[in-house]
Symmetry: C2
Subunit: 210 residues, 2 copies
Amino acid sequence: MPHKSVRQRLPYDERREQFVEKAVQFFAREGFESSTRDLARSLGVTQPLLYRYFPSKEDLIREVYEAVYLQRWRDEWNDLLIDRSKSVTDRLNLFYTQYTDVIFRDDWMRIFLFSGLKGIGLNREYLLFIRQNLIEVITREILAEHHVDQMPLSDDEIEFGWTIHGGIFYYGVRLLIYNMAVHPDKSFVIENSIQAWTHQLVAIRKHNLN
Amino acid sequence: MPHKSVRQRLPYDERREQFVEKAVQFFAREGFESSTRDLARSLGVTQPLLYRYFPSKEDLIREVYEAVYLQRWRDEWNDLLIDRSKSVTDRLNLFYTQYTDVIFRDDWMRIFLFSGLKGIGLNREYLLFIRQNLIEVITREILAEHHVDQMPLSDDEIEFGWTIHGGIFYYGVRLLIYNMAVHPDKSFVIENSIQAWTHQLVAIRKHNLN
DNA sequence: TCCACTATTTATCAATTGAAAAATAAGCTG
DNA sequence: CAGCTTATTTTTCAATTGATAAATAGTGGA
């Protein structure tokens, strides 16, 4: 009974997608310094096959970044955040619940941190995106709801938004990177962060009005 | 004119200390996957010399962790945080100013994140230490100052402490890992975080008293 | 059924890696 | 100055790495 070398032959596009998808999980687990041989093994193919689809390891990694960062933001979130038929608190609760469902995953978190340490440009671009589409929008909406939106946003107010956002993000880091025993209820963290955000932000603005 | 091979001969302990110290900076800059040859070059010695002082690269890295984590906490901070001759706000301001002076450095931040991603045990130990010596202590002190310290600390209250602490920590991540344009005034972040901490913590306790 | 195309594997290379063994030289002690 | 100790370098190895070239085998079309 000869061992048939089961050679799975897939269409180009299908194989390529499969590679990127699995590479996300693999590199998140093992880090980007892991070998292409190990990656190929976890894919059930031989290592040179990777080079039919990606000219170099670096190119593959770039595709991994793009798959993680750029393809997981939902455009509907932009609309949700400025939907004034809901209270800001409701909007923020809804948004952060969904957003953390997406980013509080092992692959997202680890690749975000791995790529940050490697000094990848995509990382800074993503954070710039977050600033413009999250921090600034939310800050504006909170101030509007409290009728203190006569003046443009200040650096102080933006910075405090980052601080709160970072607090929520850090919950994911403790949970997924450090495997700590965090509060079992994610919504507790979100609700309190939002409450602190609105309260403290209004205090900052009123303080700076003088 | 022959090129004299300047062979610097140092006492064992001195050379060893030098190696660990410089290795901290090197690995923070280049990551732990960098070669021992590059490290040796940056030290001005040959690569096999490292193996006279550390049995393996892994052992050297472990010493780097210890140098970064364990040797930078100041015992006086434990006293400062419970010094009730000062207000909690003053204590926290003072503490976080000094603490962030220590950890908001390229080597500390990057090694903390690198080692976290590699799943090193030391990392979790450090966070346990932070919980006991920071989060819990601070939470207790805030509640005492507001005369609502009749009941023991709850998970809710601890978790919120982590959220605020994480917000401050994230400022360092944005500054040193992502090289972003953060608020130029570190003390602004600290002051607002402390204010949000005390305010929201008391709110949580009062809410849970019902 | 045969052929052409190409997805996949086998075989291989040069560079880099962590690590060990052997050779050398600095510096102390007498 | 002789001689011993050991810090440091030179030499070398086997394993692993990213990557390429050649060989092989599925698959669809004529």
